[in-house]
């Protein structure tokens, strides 16, 4: 819900509450006023009758009786005064009953006791209340509509710098380090907001750059001592006076240094992918790319006497960074070859929206869910650094691909789906 909708809605809600309360209150107030008014009118008539009744001649009593609202009866005693509401038939419309207020009182005249009844229809009051409430409602409605329109116009104009800043934030990319441009504003809060966003983005860029710098420097700082160790070890095995046992130990050290270095490089690669440092993208024809890269693996495939087949349903173009595509493919194929059995099979299937690589192999030693975690090894071969599957997953996550692993019927299958 947008900001202006939200304010309009809360505005409407409060207007309804006020209207409802006001309506009820004014209804009762009006009712009370009219009610009192009706009684007062009766009382006024009573006062008039009391004043005039003694002067009236007997023959003229009929005049009183003719009046619809006043009736006079002779009684033997003084009637006690009473005020009551009652329903009487409507003289204009048969069958309909109307509210009447009736004042009954007794008078002692020179001829004796008289009971006077004055009645007054209340329907006029109710109609009046209805009309007044209607006017009240219409005015209120007009006011609400007017305010809503004004609110809409004002918020559109007033909040424009805010929405523009939002838009700028939405299009913000950490890799593209071009400063955000905001529209000029005289509103103090928006000025502060823009200033803070500017400050924040510069801060983010600065941190991002220094992190990038750090990753690269860390690589440099690690690799140089490793290079020194390795070259010295290799220099050492050139000596003529070493025993076989010593040579074996040194070889093991060389292997470990290589392992460490590869580990460092792979972790760096993971960090670089996380930092989104591979933004360059090309539309890659996956089928061609696979056939081309398979040449590098040919010696390994023949070495293990594997049978490999590529099924391409359709030539597809995938937007991907070529280096990451290569890392992805090398890890997938590397796994398919490494965990294969001699004379095994590898099938690469490329469909419109997925890549499926399956290979024959022994049953996995551990829970297949854990395979995606870092430093999880499917088997305990010393060459493996346990980051291959993590790399595959990292790249898939980066591009929003879905990676799945499955083992069934002696077949390991990795499926990568895009779109």
């Amino acid at each position: 819900m947008t900001l202006s909708n939200k304010t309009a809605l809360s505005f409407l809600a409060s207007a309804f509450v006020v209207a409802a309360l006001g309506g009820v209150f004014s209804h009762y107030l009006l009712m009370y006023v009219f009610d009192r008014e009706a009684t007062e009118q009766l009382k006024a008539q009573q006062a008039k009758i009391l004043r005039e009744i003694d002067k009236i001649e007997d023959s003229e009593q009929k005049w009183f009786a003719l009046a619809d609202s006043i009736s006079i009866e002779n009684t033997n005693f003084l009637v006690k005064e009473s005020l009551s509401d009652t329903l009487l038939p409507n003289p204009l419309e048969t069958g309909e009953m109307l509210d009447y207020r009736i004042l009954i009182f007794g008078v002692k005249t020179h001829t004796g006791f008289v009971k006077v009844t004055i009645s007054k229809a209340l329907y006029e009051t109710e109609d009046l209340v209805g009309v007044i409430l209607l006017i009240f409602g219409v005015v209120l409605l007009g006011l609400i509509i007017g305010l809503l329109i004004i609110n809409y116009i004002i918020s559109n104009r007033l909040w424009r710098p805010f929405y523009q800043a939002l838009q700028q934030l939405q299009s913000f990319k950490i890799q593209e380090q071009k400063p955000l441009s905001f529209m000029a504003t005289t509103t103090k809060e928006f000025g502060v907001l823009q200033q803070n966003i500017n400050h924040l983005t510069h801060r983010i860029w600065h941190d991002y750059n220094s992190l990038k710098q750090f990753t690269e420097n860390a690589s440099h700082e690690f690799q140089t001592p490793l290079a020194v160790i390795q070259s010295n070890l290799e220099q050492l095995i050139q000596s003529d006076n070493l025993h076989e046992k010593q040579l074996t130990k040194i070889s093991e050290l060389i292997e470990s240094v290589r392992h460490l270095s590869k580990l460092n490089q792979t972790l760096l690669l993971l960090v670089k992918i996380e930092n989104q440092q591979f933004t360059e993208m090309v539309a890659l024809n996956l089928g061609d790319f696979f056939r081309q890269k398979l040449q590098f693996w040919e010696v390994w495939i023949t070495h293990k006497a594997l049978e490999i087949s590529i099924l391409v349903d359709k030539e597809i173009l995938l937007n991907i960074n070529p280096y990451l595509a290569e890392v992805l493919l090398n890890n997938l194929l590397g796994n398919a070859i490494k965990h294969n059995i001699p004379r095994g099979i590898i099938t690469i299937k490329l469909t419109d929206n997925s890549l499926i690589i399956s290979n024959t192999g022994n049953e996995p030693l551990q829970d297949t869910e854990k395979l995606w975690q870092r430093f999880q090894k499917g088997n305990h071969s010393s060459d493996s650094h346990g980051l291959g599957m993590a790399l595959i997953q990292q790249i898939c996550e980066f591009y929003g691909f879905e990676a799945q692993y499955q083992y069934s019927a002696l077949l390991h299958t990795v499926k990568i789906a895009w779109k």
Partner: protein, 225 residues
């Protein structure tokens, strides 16, 4: 052969020089940008090993200067930054090769050997050692003047040994040479062994002396007295 090692880590520079000593290479050192810049612009080298991150400046500038002066020195970049951008930029600026640290000394020696061979076009196409004759252009091997059919990988291995004569090469270095970046993914000792065995067999069958020796527990060595 004059080689300039531009490297700020003295230990590394020294072990590179020690390794190359046997192959009648004359190594010189430069440990800073200024020193390297001066040497490069003043003298000629058959091969320059260039570290990119130097105290005092960026190694790329040296490469640019070489290109500007139209110098013919061979250049191999040895960098700890295994960054793709640097590699592309370096090769674009005229470097012959790019080797990420840490590298195997045997790999470096083989690359230097190859760069120098490529730069000296005269008499560089044929490598001869006793009964062995390798034609680099035609990529053929003659033993006692009879052609021996080698696979691409076997020929590659042979050249690697040529660039590292009389030195022990670790199995790991061979594996990485044979399969590059892919080496760490696979069980490579078995793979190296299979290729060496095939190469050895072909050489012996063609009547070649046994130059290729196994160094137990370590690797292999091509002996050439």
């Amino acid at each position: 052969m004059r080689i300039l090692i531009i490297e700020d880590e003295p230990e590394l520079a020294k072990s590179i020089a020690d390794y190359l000593l046997g192959e009648n290479y004359l190594c010189e050192f430069a440990a800073s940008f200024e020193e390297a810049f001066e040497k490069v612009t003043t003298y000629e080298y058959n091969c320059i090993l260039l570290d990119l991150m130097l105290p005092g400046g960026d190694g790329m500038k040296i490469l640019e200067e070489l290109k500007k002066q139209n110098k013919q020195d061979g250049v191999i970049i040895i960098s700890a930054k295994n960054a793709l951008d640097d590699k592309i930029k370096g090769l674009h600026l005229g470097a012959d090769d790019y080797l990420a640290k840490p590298f195997h000394l045997s790999e470096l020696a083989a690359r230097i050997y190859s760069v120098i061979r490529r730069r000296q076009f005269a008499n560089a196409n044929i490598i001869q050692q006793n009964e062995l004759k390798i034609d680099l252009l035609a990529k053929t091997l003659l033993i006692h003047n009879t052609p021996v059919l080698l696979t691409k990988k076997e020929f590659d291995l042979l050249l690697f040994f040529m660039g590292n004569r009389n030195r022990v090469i670790s199995k790991n270095a061979l594996a990485e040479h044979l399969s590059g970046d892919l080496a760490d993914m696979l069980d490579n000792h078995d793979f190296v062994y299979a290729h060496i065995k095939n190469l050895k067999k072909k050489l012996t069958e063609a009547g070649c002396d046994n130059y290729l020796k196994t160094v137990y527990g370590t690797g292999y060595k091509w002996e050439n007295e």
